[in-house]
Symmetry: C2
Subunit: 245 residues, 2 copies
């Protein structure tokens, strides 16, 4: 944990009283004492500094001061065919750590229908995991998550609302166009990356994405598991966007 | 699984009889029948095609034919400060899938001593996980693994033997030099990447690495967990090496 994230509602007159895992981390790992400063942030808000007012057996009181500006959300969005629940569970924190503005989870032919019943798709499950990733990466901007059971309706009717601007990329094995060169060759300020299911998008899905401005890009010579591929591709997009600045 | 890997000793007169998880995968997932062809490879050997001779309740007999050439090992090596055993266990398959020629696991000040007692460092644990990653990525080249409890002895006495040639990089937060530009600016055919412990290398360790030709490179603006960082950095090195061809 490199940042303690607070919910806005936890602040009372500039103070926050922590009782949960965050208090445990401050007490047992960082071993804070009264007067110490710790890096803090408000979920979707500003970062700042918390001065430890008191440390109890299982509670820490922080006096909080925040920076005037809130950072922008990460410039990369993800359109992800729902992976196996076990894989998605592991992914949430890592996606938030790498930095994603919006995560749209979609159906696809090669997604098993019963995956959509998983509690891993509920905010009660993923929100704490996303916050864990943000605390690791020192960010406050919580990815926006939406779940779409109708791939076609999503692409045809909702895409422009969900991903209004930006370069659209779809990762597909065997394409000739390298992802990084494509990102560097465009000047859009946001990129949305579509990552298919374990067996790939089918022909219809790929054609529909291409008809809606998704540029197919190569994902490298090795076939990766969805979670590894997701992390690898997000890393490449982020790096290519930084390199073109 | 995108490739069934066989041990050389499993081959008898061009045939292999599978009884284990691989047979289960062929029978239950790929649902093979006699006459089908499946992609196969020999650990550290050639790739080829296995023609299904017979399928039993829990056994599959393959008639194997191999390509004449064996691919080179991936051109990237990893020097990794031992992470928490739980993290390392998850990493093995992903490292093999992304492609690493050699993995040297080392001690560092910020590595907890008792981590070295873990069975995750034994070939009995990591070899099947590495093979799982190779089967995913369709590669036959098993990463060479070595474990080093003495960081200083490793860097001072063994580095030139373990990583004889190639560009040496050490990932370090706050450096100005971007990793990808550094790789693209060099022509060495191999790259070794040093990734520190969760709290980073200490000053002595970083200085010792630099004294032994490791170039410090930036790891991006976000602080990542060791496993996420490892995957992200290996991805960037691979991509940069492909881009310069």
């Amino acid at each position: 944990v490199n940042l303690i994230l607070l919910e806005a509602a936890e602040l009372r007159d500039g103070e926050a009283v922590l009782h949960d895992k965050r208090a445990g981390h401050l007490i047992n790992v960082l071993k804070v004492a009264a007067g110490d400063n710790v890096r803090i942030g408000i979920v979707d808000g500003a970062m700042g500094v918390g001065r430890v007012r008191s440390v109890g057996d299982d509670a820490v009181v922080l006096r909080c001061a925040f920076e005037p500006d809130v950072t922008d959300p990460p410039p990369v969005d993800l359109l992800l065919a729902l992976p196996r629940p076990k894989v998605l569970r592991r992914l949430w924190a890592q996606l938030a750590a790498l930095g994603v503005g919006r995560i749209a989870i979609t159906n696809a032919e090669r997604v098993e229908r019963n995956y959509f019943d998983t509690h891993v798709l509920t905010p009660a499950c993923y929100r704490p995991l996303l916050i864990e990733g943000l605390q690791q990466a020192r960010d406050t901007r919580l990815p926006t998550v939406s779940v779409h059971r109708q791939f076609r309706a999503l692409v045809e009717d909702q895409m422009d609302a969900i991903f209004p601007d930006g370069l659209r990329l779809v990762a597909h094995p065997g394409e000739q166009t390298p992802l990084t060169a494509t990102v560097r060759g465009h000047s859009e300020r946001r990129v949305v990356l579509a990552v298919g299911p374990e067996g790939g998008w089918n022909d219809f899905e790929l054609a529909l994405l291409e008809a809606h401005r998704f540029v197919p890009v190569d994902i490298g010579p090795r076939t990766l598991r969805t979670d590894t591929a997701c992390l690898a591709l997000l890393t490449l997009v982020h790096d290519a966007m930084r390199a073109r600045i």
